[in-house]
């Protein structure tokens, strides 16, 4: 078939658009739709009739997107509406989120599936509470691509200063949020400047037009977590001979023959057959709807999770989350709600409201309950175990809603920020990995370990750090540097690391660990979750760096058993990962190690 009939390269991009009432959002959308040819003649004619009927001087583009009768009558948009727009390279689903009543709830709804957000600012009003609120929500939902559209530039004579003032204010503001850099666009939606094309009005404008920004978007900017997560949606069982587990892959890739772990039953089974919507397949990836047949009978039903045995999520009955309250009734501590996360539904109570964000100032306010449109941080406890990744790490797994079990209304939308394990739950999952960085003094172990720990923390992963120097300062202050003491130092360190890992922390340890025997000992104590990482640098390099002056003192005979000088460092033979710190930047080393950890988590 001809290429233009199938458009093989068309990507689907979901955008949310928000602004305060009268910032010009509907006008902008109307113009985009009209000028990209999405409006049919009869729709335009209806628009003309409507405008004439209301006695408006010219056709009001804003009414193209006002759906409900009540909205037309009151001249406001009251619910999220979805618009569709196609350009030669992109297919857009635009969630048009109203800026009036229930603004927060609507924007959170519209933005929950968005790959990008457009936020309108009326240049005459500058940055308002509403703007700050919208940016806050983008940050809460982790939207990777955000543009601020400074509209109505025609009303300030297209003055660059008016635009840059807003830009400067917002740059300072978003510095306080976790957010990607914003794109700034100056427009007049009514006139059409910088919407579809550049006009002569703002020669100073260096940013893209709205359309250019949209066409430059990608659906693939989300963190694509490597770990396999398949929430079981439905068990297909037409007769005794067939039993398949249907689900949409939240992340990762599954192949025929893979060994899977079913949660919460913790039973293992192999993928015997796999099919996607087109029939039998050898492998399937993120976003695909699959049906999996396992090689043995295991206890699996809707709401369960299929994962890889060595890469299970946190099992917990208690976690913390940022929630946006949507119900009309306020949150009640201790009340039983239904919680839906992936396909899993459990009972849940809010055990504590830690604070509410003032979404205009970003201050935290102490409150004990949340009301409609509040965003706050809460602690939640569930009746049945949950299998969680943080939202930042895995959007599909870390998102949930709370439902009032009496009225069936959705009362809150939440994103998991951290998980706390209960003892019982700890038994349910494999231990977190213990990463053991070995290498000469000065090879870069601690620097890389710190960088990795920091990255994991940013992903919301609980981390513990153990360092040789620290341990020797306290727990092991009775030990010297004889081979026996060195061995004892490592034995204790390994046991401490194991305890940390068992409590769910990825434990990053930096110890010289000079001999193969030492490494075998540590491996033995820690077991399966041990990841040996060799930070490789030649003795000459390390001695040249000599950050702590140890080598100099060793050469002078002051440190008799110093590794590399007075005692041996055996070249490691069994490391899972070798990082050449002479040829590779710290950043790159940290990236490679973090990736390995995330695969094994």
């Amino acid at each position: 078939m001809a290429a233009d009939l199938q458009d093989a390269q068309l990507d689907l991009i979901r955008i949310s658009i928000a602004g305060s009432v009268d910032d010009g959002k509907s006008t902008l959308l109307g113009r985009l739709l009209l000028e990209t040819g999405q409006i049919y003649e009869d729709q335009y004619a209806a628009l003309e009739r409507g405008s004439a009927h209301r006695g408006e001087a010219s056709v009001n583009l804003a009414h193209l997107t006002d759906g409900l009768k009540a909205e037309r009558e009151q001249n406001i948009t009251i619910d999220v509406a979805y618009r569709y727009m196609t350009t030669p390279t992109r297919r857009f689903i635009i969630a048009d989120t109203p800026g009036h009543q229930q603004y927060t709830r609507n924007m959170v709804t519209g933005a929950s599936t968005a790959d990008a957000a457009l936020i309108l600012v009326d240049v005459q009003n500058g940055v308002t509470d509403q703007t700050r609120r919208h940016l806050f929500i983008c940050s809460m939902l982790g939207i990777p691509q955000v543009a601020v559209i400074v509209n109505k530039m025609d009303l300030v004579d297209y003055a660059e200063t008016a635009f840059t003032a807003i830009q400067t204010e917002l740059k300072a503001l978003v510095g306080r949020l976790q957010m990607p850099p914003l794109t700034y666009i100056a427009t007049s939606a009514v006139v059409g400047d910088n919407v579809m094309r550049r006009t002569d009005a703002m020669p100073w404008h260096i940013g893209p037009t709205v359309l250019e920004f949209m066409e430059g978007l990608s659906a693939a900017t989300w963190l694509n977590p490597p770990e396999l997560r398949i929430p079981v949606q439905y068990v297909v069982r037409p007769d005794r001979t067939f039993r398949g587990y249907a689900g949409r892959i939240a992340s990762g890739t599954v192949r025929r023959g893979d060994e899977l772990l079913a949660l919460p039953s913790r039973q293992h089974a192999k993928v015997e057959r796999l099919s996607n919507v087109d029939g039998p397949a050898d492998e399937a990836g993120t976003g695909e709807n699959v049906i999996i047949e396992l090689d043995r009978n295991v206890d699996v039903s809707r709401g369960d999770l299929l994962v890889r045995p060595r890469n299970a999520p946190f099992a917990t009955r208690a976690f913390e989350a940022i929630v946006c309250w949507m119900g009309n009734a306020r949150s009640v501590r201790g009340k039983s709600y239904a919680l839906r996360q992936t396909t899993r539904e459990v009972s849940a109570t809010i055990t504590e409201v830690m604070y509410r964000f003032d979404v205009a100032t970003y201050h935290r306010e102490n409150v004990t309950e949340l009301g409609a449109n509040d965003i706050g941080r809460v602690a939640i406890q569930t009746g049945q175990p949950m299998f969680l990744d943080t939202y930042q790490h895995n959007r599909a797994i870390g998102a949930f809603i709370l439902i009032d079990s009496i009225t069936n209304e959705v009362v809150a939308a939440g994103t998991v920020t951290s998980t706390a394990r209960t003892d019982e739950a700890a038994e349910l999952v494999s231990e977190a990995p213990v990463v053991w960085l070995i290498g000469l003094s000065g090879a870069g172990k601690s620097t890389i370990a710190d960088a990795v720990a920091e990255r994991l923390r940013l992903q919301g992963v609980p981390v513990a750090r153990l360092d040789g120097d620290d341990l020797r300062g306290g727990l092991n202050s009775d030990l010297g540097f004889s081979p026996e003491d060195r061995r004892e130092n490592l034995r204790r360190a390994a046991h401490v690391a194991k305890l940390f890992a068992r409590a769910g922390n990825v434990t990053v340890c930096s110890f010289i660990t000079p001999t193969e025997a030492d490494r075998a000992l540590v491996r033995e104590v820690i077991g399966e979750s041990f990841i040996e990482t060799y930070v490789k640098a030649s003795l000459e390099t390390c001695e040249g760096r000599d950050v702590k002056g140890h080598y100099k003192r060793a050469r002078a005979g002051e440190l008799p058993d110093f590794t590399g000088i007075g005692s041996v460092f055996e070249e490691p033979k069994h490391s899972e990962l070798v990082l050449d710190s002479e040829g590779t930047a710290v950043d790159e080393c940290a990236t490679r190690l973090t990736e390995l950890i995330n695969e094994r988590r």
Partner: protein, 297 residues
Amino acid sequence: MNTALRELEAEAVYVIREVVAQFERPALLFSGGKDSTVIAHLASKAFAPAPIPFPLLHVDTGHNFPETLEFRDRLVERLGIRLAVHYVQDSIDAGLVSEETGPRASRNALQTVTLLSAISALNLDACIGGARRDEEKARAKERFFSHRNTQGQWDPKSQRPELWNLFDGRKHKGEHFRVFPLNNWTELDVWRYIAAEAIELPSLYFSHERETIERDGTLWAWIEYIQPEPGEVPVKRRVRFRTVGDATCTAAMLSEAATVEDVIRELLELRVSERASRMDDRRSESAMEDRKARGYF
């Protein structure tokens, strides 16, 4: 298939499976049109190798194109799916509704009553429909899982928020849901999908010669259910239908598009919307919303 279409297919299959997982007695509302045919196709893919685990419900106004009924029966046979037919005529006979009269009479509005009585007779808790958000302004705000109260009514002002892909299908006794797996599809997406998957459609969708009358600038099939007005004479024209439903409110358009590819090419050039060919929408600017609030599809 382009990447956008693949994503829309995945979304729809997910929604259809979610219906079966969350509801006890769902059904697929079947109109004979392309959208419900595409859903039937998606459902067969969603559960293969198992058969589609819900029946097809056809609310029959009695004013059908024969091609539609013949197509319906073949589809049911091929998919091995159960068919339930409820007749508007029965609602009329039972005195639940009274028939419109005159040349513009249509049973389209009466369908609502028959549908609601079918829902209660079959005790359905979810009806899957082929409506799409791009069809009409009021539909732009439709949810995937759209709640209906015990009277079958839609309240656009108190819709449940729908976030991520977490659908809330909890309900009280007597309430039900309408579910729209194709919400995010456009007319062009539907046709591109039909092309990519080689889905069979009623021949009405393709150019054929037919006796038609012209009324208010619109072409109508000259069939027994349409009462002529003075001076209206049927003329043979090459036409096709852009939407297919009740024969009295489905307008024809002049067209030479004989294949799916022709139709796509035609759509890429077309300047009027799909619903312009439906009489029921032309009655007022908020016609669709009013009908939806009463429990229409």
